[in-house]
């Protein structure tokens, strides 16, 4: 049976994998293993939709599939009518700062706000519009004016920190909507996205005296979670990746301030005070376990995030806040390569370029080249595999037996972005281990 895969999905998947990045859509086509982990996160999402909260730290080595996993979770959340905000941390974006880096993270989260209808980000405007539409329908049903319904809903928000100003901004948007004042609408959206940098500007544009600055980021997210529920969505899921950037921070005080912020978020979600808000953080094992500069260096976090002592030696426990993504097994990897081959052939089993035997030989070849790394951190292996398929596809007369032996595979170096070029000259340094 051939289930045809749409070209759009196929291309998205194949091209991202070849470039070594995670595909934004179509993850289900290449999802392998990890069933319990996925179930855990799905139950979290259900809990968020049900007025609860969630906090998970997803831990995995470089290239073990963290980002893929997080993207998959995002896709599931959107299906379940949650609003998803995601962002990657970097030296300029962190959870706590005094120089604008936290605001920068918030702005990025807002830019990437996605819903089922707008899965590629930029959904903030749409959410506010949905809020107004929902209010209108309710108003009609109850026989009240839209104004009154909106005001009543917004009153809900005012009990949170910064709630009054948030409500004022939404009200300004509604006014703009009614009057057809595009400027007011776009200013309101700008304020929500954290793009006002001075209070004076905000006051002139919208009449509110506060802006989203570094100190207000988490409070703003809580407000947003409540707001999206008022707009008819099930809740807000915030997905933060590359938390290893906190681990790499050189300034001890700043790093600890960020961990303090994570503790705050953790406490709120475990105690259930943040309704409809879920956090999923992705990081490396060092980020969690290093007692000198990782999360474990902060004693309160260490006790809350500690492993279940009974769950050792093969026993699992997925109820704690930490979800460890174990590396793929060779068997899993085999299935993965099969699926990739299947996607490459657009779902047509007759067009498979490589028989199962070929996949097996390819894995053998990689194992010889880079040892275990080929399935533990499969990023580069997958790229090589797709390159192999590409050559097979475009060169009709060639047989896979000839090519498999000559494929170049290198181990994954963690994918750090080099800001300074010409690293090729220094081969002596390429494999430097202290």
């Amino acid at each position: 049976m051939t289930i045809t895969i749409r070209t759009k999905d196929r291309d998205a998947v194949i091209q991202s994998l070849r470039a070594g990045v995670v595909p934004r859509t179509g993850q289900h086509l290449i999802q392998v293993g990890r069933t319990s982990e996925i179930e855990t996160l799905v139950s979290d999402i259900d809990r968020i939709a049900d007025d609860g909260s969630a906090f998970r730290v997803v831990i995995g080595e470089y290239g073990a599939g963290k980002t893929f996993f997080l993207n998959l979770v995002r896709a599931v959340a959107m299906e379940k009518k949650l609003v998803v905000a995601s962002a990657d941390l970097n030296p300029d974006r962190r959870l706590h700062a005094s120089g604008g880096q936290a605001r920068s993270l918030y702005a990025e989260l807002m830019r990437n706000l996605s819903t089922r209808t707008k899965p590629d980000g930029g959904a903030l405007g749409g959410i506010v519009e949905k809020f107004i539409a929902t209010a209108k329908t309710e108003a009609k049903a109850a026989g009240l004016s839209t104004e009154a319904v909106i005001r009543q809903k917004l009153d809900n928000l005012t009990e949170l920190v910064n709630g009054y100003d948030f409500a004022d901004v939404i009200a300004a948007y509604c006014r703009g909507f009614e009057e057809g004042n595009e400027q007011l609408k776009s200013d309101a959206v700008r304020w929500l996205r954290g793009e006002f940098s001075t209070k004076t500007d905000a006051r002139q544009a919208l009449g509110v005296r506060t802006i989203v600055d570094d100190a207000a980021v988490y409070d703003q997210l809580k407000l947003l979670a409540r707001f999206v529920r008022l707009a008819g969505f099930s809740g807000l899921l915030v997905s933060l990746d590359e938390l290893v950037n906190l681990y790499k921070m050189a300034n001890t005080q700043a790093r600890n301030a960020n961990y303090e912020q994570i503790l705050r978020i953790l406490n709120d979600s475990l105690q259930g005070t943040a309704v409809g808000l879920g956090f999923v953080l992705g990081g490396t094992p060092e980020f969690l376990l290093d007692t000198r500069r990782g999360l474990y260096s902060y004693p309160a976090l260490q006790s809350r995030l500690a492993q279940n002592t009974f769950a050792s030696g093969g026993l699992v426990d997925f109820s704690g806040p930490v979800v460890r993504l174990s590396s793929l097994t060779p068997e899993d990897f085999y299935v993965l390569l099969q699926k990739i081959g299947h996607v490459y052939a657009s779902g047509d089993t007759t067009k498979h370029l490589l028989p199962d035997q070929g996949i097996y030989r390819f894995m053998e070849h990689c194992s010889k080249r880079i040892g275990d790394a080929y399935f533990r951190t499969p990023r580069t292996t997958i790229t090589s595999f797709i390159n192999l398929l590409a050559v097979l596809e475009q060169n009709a007369g060639v047989s896979w037996q000839d090519l498999v032996g000559g494929i170049e595979v290198v181990a994954d170096t963690g994918g750090t972005i080099d800001l300074i070029a010409d690293a090729d000259e220094n081969e002596e340094f390429a494999s430097f281990k202290m």
Binding site: E61, Y62, P91, D92, G99, Q101, V244, N245, Y247, K248, M249, A250, N251, T252, Q253, T284, P285, E286, R292, R293, T413, G414, G415, T416, D418, L419, I420, D422, A423, E425, N426, E428, F429, A430, F432, K433, M434
Partner: protein
């Protein structure tokens, strides 16, 4: 303004108006020449001239003109070694730049955060900053560096001559390089310098690897007047019975203090006694004199062992303008803290080097019409009894006289540009990791040690050895993706406020005998176990040297001629020693000496002839042989190392090398020397420096692996070439023994 000044008309109109308003009649030479070179911002320029000859204007008038012509506002980064200089410049620029609507931003430790924040949001105008503050900016705001310096149009480095050849200069080169890398383009550099002998050294410093492309503007205008007086004091002999362990108080300091009191009271001055002990002694004497005459105290001490409170008191006393203040200090007041100009400078004992003397003198007579005034005090023991060679030949006085005469000829030690400065490399590596939040070893090497980078002399193998060693000492660590981060120790040090300075000031060794600390002594030469040392008027034998604690353990020894080695703050150049020798051999008497010093000079010359030192190169002194090389400390150390390698205890001391004979004879020593000369290839540093201590000279030297430490040390402090040349020459002249 004369019509022939082409440069004047190329300046912006508003600047021209400013010049008219200030009443300047013409542009100075340096300014005429520099303006056309700087206007287009397409090359590096050095402006070399004496103090107060308008160097700053020579750089800024065209630089500001260029900035005014830009569409988007630019940024001039002005780097100065001292906060006080920055404060002065700020006052000067404020008026001119106010009229041009260009903001001026001082940035150093004493500037408030609000001013700094305003600069960070504006990022244009003139930024006045010290290297340490710049380092802090790169470390703490690493991610914003490319944004902050995006509009840089020029780097202006003031007091360039003070930076060349020092760790701070290396750090400065590295900072400018890192900023250029962050913004992705070359930023033209302007250096303001006092005149140096070889300006090419300065050019190569300003732009590593491209020194030839730097334009040099030199102005040979006459310097200001210099008044010199050298006074001599003789410490009389005291006959003591037996083995007197009590340290007797010398009597000359009190006399010197009286003269200082008379001459320096009522104005601002600096007094340099060459060691902490002496600072304490003279401060005490001068304070007593003030007390006796019921006058308010004007004399303040300053050195590295004093508590911060006392040092701050001294600095405050010097900064305030209403009351006169004189500081008695070690070199902490050369670099560490800064004050305006002083009326005169006094030196007790010989200066550490001619360059340092010049630097110290540069503090006085900065205003037009004011001469620089210099008083030098030479102390010698009276002849007789078992006088050491130093006393017989009045070596301290001869050294002072030689240095002053060289100064008057305009000579000074050429800056040591061969220094490896691996200590600064360690600091920069830690700083780069802080700036970028981690870096791979490949990126570190490319940024800091590639061709045209500041540390380009370091090979890849050496770099790997260094990184491994730093990893072992927990300064660095590697995360699972191969990125280097700060280790436990590294993180602590980087987060401490002292991290930003690349240098240490004024470290002296503690002298401990039988568990009791006798005092401290500055030592800038190598040390080796078994050598003799003169301290507190007695002879000691060095038993143990602890480099990390900077302590030497000594035991009393007696008999024999007193040793020449008594510690010192400076290293002497061969040229100075050669001048000393020619002074001893000639009959001229320099005019700036007083009668006592003239007598010393005559006695020294007599001693020189008596011992026939014009024709011998060694002196047999019983248990020791003194090899008289008349070479500088670097060459003498090399000779001492060669002898140590052959089993002797040898140490550079004064104008030669003191070798303990032990069981050997003088002949054996000389044969060993000849042996060393006969070798064609110089021995490797590892072997040469194996038994030698006091190699930790720079701030981060303790973190280096042994082999790199020796390379770093030898690059600055060992001159094997000169040593071998001398030895071969001697052997040629004295073929048999």
């Amino acid at each position: 303004m004369s019509e022939s000044s082409a440069s004047f008309y190329r300046l912006d109109e508003r600047i021209q108006r400013f010049i008219w308003a200030e009443g300047w009649e013409s542009l100075r030479d340096a300014q005429e020449a520099a303006i056309p070179l700087i206007l287009d911002a397409d090359r590096d320029v050095i402006v070399a001239a004496a103090t107060a000859t308008g160097k700053t204007e020579a750089a800024f008038l065209p630089a500001l003109t260029h900035m005014l012509q830009l569409k988007e506002s630019g940024l001039i980064v002005y780097i100065s070694p001292l906060k006080a200089l920055i404060n002065d410049q700020f006052d000067r620029f404020d008026r001119l730049c106010g009229q041009l609507d260009i903001p001026v931003w001082p940035w150093h430790g004493d500037v408030s955060a609000s001013i700094k924040n305003r600069f960070l949001s504006k990022r244009s105008g003139i930024l006045l900053i010290t290297p340490e503050s710049l380092e802090a900016m790169l470390c703490n705001r690493g991610t914003s560096v490319s944004a902050i310096f995006d509009r840089s149009t020029f780097f202006v480095v003031d007091e360039l001559h003070a930076f060349i050849g020092s760790e701070r200069g290396k750090q400065l080169q590295s900072l400018m390089h890192r900023i250029e890398r962050a913004v992705g383009r070359k930023v033209p550099r302007i250096g303001l310098s006092a005149t140096l002998g070889d300006m090419n050294l300065a050019a190569e410093f300003l732009r590593t690897g491209e020194g030839a492309s730097v334009a040099i503007v030199e102005s040979r205008s006459s310097g200001s007047e210099l008044k010199i007086l050298v006074k001599g004091y003789e410490e009389p002999l005291v006959i003591r019975s037996g083995d007197d362990d009590e340290e007797r108080e010398p009597t000359t300091p009190a006399l010197i203090a009286t003269h200082l009191f008379k001459s320096l009271r009522g104005s601002n001055n600096l007094v340099f006694p060459n060691s902490r002990r002496e600072v304490e002694r003279f401060t005490h004497l001068l304070n007593n004199l003030c007390l006796q005459q019921q006058l308010p105290n004007e004399f303040w001490p300053h050195h590295g062992s004093l508590s911060k409170e006392i040092r701050t008191e001294t600095e405050a006393a010097l900064k305030q303008q209403s009351l006169p203040a004189t500081a008695i200090c070690t070199n902490t007041l050369e670099l560490g803290i800064d004050i305006g100009s002083v009326k005169s400078v006094a030196q007790i004992g010989s200066p550490p080097s001619v360059a340092r003397l010049r630097q110290r003198l540069g503090r006085s007579g900065r205003r037009k019409g004011e001469p620089a005034i210099f008083r030098s005090y030479c102390i010698e023991d009276a002849l007789g009894g078992q006088a050491s060679l130093a006393t017989e030949l009045r070596l301290e006085t001869i050294k002072t006289t030689a240095m002053i005469s060289l100064l008057l000829e305009g000579w000074f030690e050429p800056p040591a540009t061969n220094g490896a400065h691996l200590s600064t490399l360690v600091q920069q590596m830690l700083s780069v990791i802080a700036q970028y939040g981690g870096a791979t070893i490949s990126r570190l090497y490319t940024l800091l040690c590639a061709e045209k980078a500041p540390f380009s002399g370091v090979s890849k193998e050496d770099f790997i050895v260094l990184v491994r060693h730093l990893g072992q000492n927990e300064l660095l660590m590697q995360d699972s993706s191969g990125v280097l981060l700060h280790g436990r120790v590294g993180e602590k040090l980087v987060n401490h406020y002292t991290f930003y300075a690349a240098f240490v000031i004024d470290e002296e060794f503690r002298v401990v005998a039988s568990g009791k600390t006798l005092g401290t002594i500055p030592i800038s030469q190598m040390l080796t176990v078994g050598q003799r040392i003169l301290f507190a008027g007695k002879t000691w034998f060095v038993e143990e040297i602890d480099e990390t604690q900077k302590t030497i353990y000594v035991i009393r020894t007696s008999g024999g001629v007193p040793p020449l080695f008594s510690g010192s703050t400076g290293r002497v150049h061969t040229h100075v020693r050669q001048r000393m020798r020619s002074l001893l051999e000639s009959n001229d008497v320099p005019v700036f000496l007083d009668e006592v010093v003239r007598r010393f000079l005559a006695e020294a010359r007599q001693g020189y002839t008596d011992r026939n030192l014009g024709h011998t190169f060694f002196i047999d002194q019983g248990k020791v042989v003194y090899i008289l090389t008349w070479l500088g400390d670097a060459a003498n150390e090399a000779i001492a190392c060669l002898l140590i390698q052959r089993g002797f205890v040898a140490i550079p001391a004064g104008p030669g090398v003191e070798v303990q004979k032990g069981k050997h004879s003088t002949e054996d020593v000389l044969n060993a020397l000849i042996d060393a000369a006969a070798v064609d290839d110089p021995p490797p540093l590892d072997m040469l420096l194996a038994e030698v201590k006091n190699l930790y000279r720079e701030k981060w030297d303790w973190a280096l692996p042994d082999e790199l430490l020796r390379i770093a040390y030898a690059s600055l402090y060992l001159d094997l070439e000169e040593a071998l040349k001398w030895t071969k020459q001697i052997v040629a002249v004295n073929p048999v023994n």
